[in-house]
Amino acid sequence: MGDSQYSFSLTTFSPSGKLVQIEHALTAVGSGQTSLGLKASNGVVIATEKKLLSILVDEASVQKIQHLTPNIGTVYSGMGPDFRVLVRKSRKQAEQYLRLYKEPIPVTQLVRETATVMQEFTQSGGVRPFGVSLLVAGYDDKGPQLYQVDPSGSYFSWKASAMGKNVSNAKTFLEKRYTEDMELDDAIHTAILTLKEGFEGEISSKNIEIGKIGADKVFRVLTPAEIDDYLAEVE
């Protein structure tokens, strides 16, 4: 793949036992726009800031929260183009599973396969790690689930998590506000409040995106009108 001069792995161990490229990838994630997720008792919500480069950008065409399957959605912090590639690969893996077993892929399996792809890019010749961390929200037979996948390929199941610029403030806020028996609507309110914490400027339905999945097992991105309703309730 490429010139023989570049056929070694770009992620090689440092003397301290770290993979420096992955640390740099995590830095790229940490300077990306804040995103977060919460697992409620009857669903999962994920949300992100959607700060665009200028007011001239057609914000309706930008969609940061994507479906992987009808019952699994995902959001990212970090590099948008890397996210697009991962979404494409994950969707294909989900479809291949469905084609083989005629059964929708369980959330844990899809997360594991996506994480495997990300790990492969830390150990192959001529490629670099992905500069995104993903939050995967799904609802299957095991109930609501929220996973975070990092550039190294490690994944964790969370009750609530945040990533990106405002990660420490957001996580502190979530630790205080999160309760195990929260319902989905409460979780959406808490998500909005958490985003508001570190938000530069005025929060509105045009500069955040929210996706949710409930017991109906259908992942949906909320319309701006629905976001406005939730924002009004929060005020």
Partner: protein, 204 residues
């Protein structure tokens, strides 16, 4: 003589009330010569899922090994047993992979699904699934089996009656087929137990 008739076989599965039965003959032949009278055609995938394979004996054994391999990996990865419907889709996909050089087997799959609902299906050697609500048959004795099952089958039989019915259907059908027989092997599976019985029929 067709390659499917080289070894001789008979497999049948029937649905009962929250249970199923799967049965096969025990003869392994090389055309007209009988080589073994204890050949295993039905294998357990997990406690609520069985597969019976008729056709060329070498492919029966190889295909069974491949399926057990796939199921064990699935169990380790997903931390659960495969549902019968899922397993049937997997078998169909594996058979179709060899579309232009197929495994010369016809599988019969029987299992208890969610809520202990019995599931049976059969497919041809390239993976065309055929689901049925009552019984499925396969092997050199299949034509006789169709007739016997059609005549003897009743819906919602309990385990004991199901055992009697499937045994009679199997033994009377293999008696009309020179390439299958030499006894029978029956499994009756309910949500709580697996009953395995060997039948003594005409040994010829």
């Amino acid at each position: 003589m067709s390659i499917f008739e080289y070894n001789g076989s008979a497999v049948v599965a029937m649905v009962g009330k929250n249970c199923f039965a799967i049965a096969s003959d025990r003869r392994l032949g090389v055309q007209l010569q009988t080589i073994a009278t204890d050949f295993q055609r039905i294998s357990k995938i997990h406690d609520h899922l069985f597969i019976g394979l008729s056709g060329l004996a070498t492919d029966v054994q190889t295909l069974y090994q491949r399926l057990v391999f796939r199921h064990k990996l699935y169990q380790l990865r997903e931390e659960r047993d495969m549902k019968p419907e899922t397993f049937a889709s997997l078998v169909s996909a594996i058979l179709y992979e060899k579309r232009f050089g197929p495994y010369l087997c016809q599988p019969v799959i029987a299992g208890l699904g969610d809520d202990n609902k019995p599931f049976i299906c059969t497919m041809d050697s390239i993976g065309a699934k055929e689901l049925a609500k009552d019984f499925v048959v396969s092997g050199t004795a299949s034509e006789s089996l169709y007739g016997a099952c059609e005549a003897m089958f009743k819906p919602d039989m309990e385990a004991e009656e199901l055992f009697e019915t499937i045994s009679q259907a199997l033994l009377s059908s293999v008696d009309r087929d020179c390439l299958s027989g030499w006894g029978g092997h029956v499994y009756v599976v309910t949500p709580n137990e697996i009953k395995e019985k060997i039948l003594k029929g005409r040994m010829d």
